[in-house]
């Protein structure tokens, strides 16, 4: 039986198919079923079957998997305009409402520096943080809507999927961060290439670390509501303690301790240092507003702080990969 013959048309083909394989004897029910009633949508003209080949696992196939998972996150982000807007509401509220409102109280303590300017680095971090958190939630959605399975059975490493997700979340969060970066002029911060690259660099790193953390949690927690609950419970306190909204100096001891062990503080501090290095302000103001993180009087260099974030991000990603690979 040649292929041409078999592809001659939908209706006889089906019958041929069943007749040729059905066991001998008796009219086949299959035939009568296919014969009666309106014909199903006929396929297109007989075409040569396009056969594709799935290659052995290789660095290239893993790269393609990472890339497509990453791209999917971006496509979904771009399609979801609501999310772009809603995740910007909170930073805007904090920056302009809280910043302007508290300005009257804090004017005396900020040595003439606008409170909005002071909290701006914290807001840069915040935007990235919340977006990254929501990005990580996509793994919970994917599980809920079944799509996770489609990725789980693909002949690629689980790590490629997790890395693609983490990079996707990080990219999306960074894009949101960039939008907030555009507001620097509104809070009296002059633009410069150094500022932009520095801020973006820290944002990428923070976004990556938070997404990795989120994925790590998301792999364990299978319901959306509990995931959001846990994230709120962990991320909000971390954000408040980090010193994003106040200088980490002269705090009560308990808060100082918490602040020093809060990983987020190590992202907020270099961000603030970077932004403040581009400001023309008095030494007194700088001392009060940008005291830096110090351990027993030793002020940590920014590079070390950034390294802390990078290492934490990498560790959490590794945990996420290990967890994800172990799930059935």
């Amino acid at each position: 039986m040649s292929r041409e013959h078999r592809l001659s048309g939908p209706e006889p083909m089906v019958i041929t198919a069943s007749a040729s394989v059905a066991p001998a004897g008796g009219p086949s029910t299959t035939t009568s079923l296919a014969g009666g009633g309106p014909a199903p949508t006929p396929p297109a003209e007989p075409i040569e079957v396009v056969r594709v080949h799935v290659p052995q696992r290789s660095a290239r196939s893993e790269y393609r998997a990472v890339k497509i998972v990453w791209r999917r996150e971006l496509v979904r982000f771009v399609n979801d305009r609501m999310r772009i807007v809603t995740s910007l509401v909170q930073p805007f509220l904090f920056l302009f409402v809280l910043g302007s409102g508290l300005q009257q109280l804090s004017a005396a303590g900020t040595h003439g520096v606008d409170l909005k300017t002071f909290i701006y680095p914290g807001i840069l971090c915040m935007t990235v943080m919340f977006t990254a958190m929501f990005s990580a939630a996509s793994i919970v959605w994917d599980r809920e809507f079944g799509f996770l399975r489609e990725m789980m059975v693909a002949p690629v490493r689980r790590s490629s999927i997790v890395i693609g997700k983490a990079l996707g979340g990080a990219t999306v969060a960074t894009v949101q961060g960039l939008i907030v970066l555009c507001l620097a002029w509104a809070v009296h911060i002059p633009y410069s290439l150094g500022l932009i690259f520095g801020v973006v660099g820290i944002q990428v790193l923070l976004a990556f670390a938070i997404t990795s953390f989120g994925i790590m949690v998301a792999i364990r927690i299978k319901q959306m509501q509990s995931f959001m609950g846990v994230m709120q419970m962990v991320v909000m306190p971390m954000y408040f303690i980090s010193g994003a909204l106040f200088p980490a100096r002269g705090l009560p001891t308990w808060l100082t301790v918490l602040n020093r062990i809060d990983p987020l503080a190590y992202a907020v501090d270099p961000m603030r240092r970077l932004v403040f290095s581009h400001l023309q302000i008095s030494a007194a103001a700088r001392r009060v507003l940008d005291p830096g993180l110090s351990w027993w009087g030793w002020r940590m260099p920014a590079i070390l702080e950034v390294a802390v974030i990078a290492v934490l991000g990498a560790v959490m990603l590794a945990i996420a990969v290990a967890e994800f690979s172990a799930t059935e």
């Binding site: 198919a17 394989v21 059905a22 066991p23 199903p40 196939s61 079944g146």
Partner: protein, 332 residues
């Protein structure tokens, strides 16, 4: 079509235990290359669990299985490269378009870039969705999604396609067209198809079926052979006194009847000739009668002693039946 040649699937004493509960109790079977093999059974029989083990998603507790020549435990990736999957629950990305879903799949499977579009076109045409390729999946009907999932399962030219209840929840029309696609595709692409269903009538589309009940395979053969094995037509009568009817049937005709869903049911060879005898000789008044050819329900019944629940509400089943209904004692 080589049903006797090389094996696409070999399963040897496969067992899956969840805690103390054995979901699959050591099943063994083989599926030939190019065969359409059906797994038939009621809810909770262990069909999905078996499929999940065969497609490497679940680890067997014990036993062995080879798919497309590769062991499902030790050569997971090789199995995955060679199989296509349509799960029982939907796994499409609803936010993406049909074509984007296929592209994503092709990327995950490392399909050569130049072939992605031609192949996508082919599989989409096969399921009649090429015109809707740019439609967002969320806007698709259940049947369209199912067809898209089948198309996606085929994207990478698998050698074995697993379909877990591909037609669940679809109307009879769509179910039939999906079956037409499946047969057509099996012809065209020469692939082996392993599918599960709990619609009895659908099993007729398979070359061979395994009837599964409570984690065990209770029968395995071609549907025709299984039905022939039952050997009798099914006669169902309505009477005012079922107990008396059963006793009378045993005494007058030597048939063993029982009550199934409120009616007296029994099997006899040559139902058409039996009914006239029944009317002329039977001592208990009969108010209604129906005769049907043996269906897979009867096969199922004869092996498990119970009917498959879901088949009852299935309108398509009526088509398989030769019905003679004489209500209220009316004469021919």
């Amino acid at each position: 079509m080589d049903v006797t040649g090389t094996r696409a699937i070999t399963v040897d004493n496969l067992l899956k235990r969840y805690g103390d509960f054995e979901a699959v109790k050591g099943v063994s079977f083989e599926v030939g290359q190019g065969e359409v093999f059906g797994f038939l059974g009621p809810n909770g029989a262990g069909k999905s669990t078996t499929i999940n083990m065969l497609c490497t998603l679940t680890r067997p507790t014990s036993g062995r299985a080879e798919v497309a020549g590769h062991d499902v435990v030790s050569a997971r990736d090789d199995v995955r490269r060679n199989i296509g999957l349509v799960f029982q629950d939907p796994t499409l990305d609803g936010y993406l378009t049909a074509l984007q879903n296929l592209r994503l799949h092709a990327e995950l499977y490392g399909v050569e870039s130049a072939l992605v579009l031609p192949r996508a076109k082919q599989v989409l045409q096969m399921v009649g969705l090429w015109d809707r390729r740019d439609g967002v999946v969320q806007t698709f009907s259940g049947g369209m999604r199912r067809r898209l999932e089948i198309a996606r399962g085929l994207m990478h030219s698998p050698r074995v396609l697993f379909l877990d209840e591909p037609t669940i929840g679809l109307d009879p029309q769509t179910r039939r067209s999906i079956w037409t696609y499946i047969r057509e595709l099996q012809e065209r692409e020469q692939i082996t198809i392993f599918m599960t269903t709990h619609y009895m009538d659908e099993a007729e589309w398979c070359d061979r079926i395994a009837i599964m009940d409570a984690g065990q395979i209770v029968a395995l053969d071609a549907p025709e052979t299984l039905k022939a094995g039952v050997g009798t037509d099914r006669v169902t009568i309505q009477t005012d006194d079922n107990e008396a009817a059963i006793a009378a049937l045993a005494a007058d005709f030597g048939v063993e009847a029982r009550i199934v869903e409120g009616h007296v049911t029994f099997g006899v060879a040559g139902g058409e000739t039996f009914v006239p005898r029944l009317f002329s000789e039977f001592s208990v008044p009969v108010t209604g009668v129906s005769v049907s050819r043996p269906t897979l329900d009867d096969v199922f019944m004869s092996y498990t002693g119970s009917t498959i629940r879901d088949a009852e509400e299935d309108p398509a089943k009526a088509r398989n039946r030769t019905m003679m209904r004489m209500m209220g004692g009316a004469r021919r």
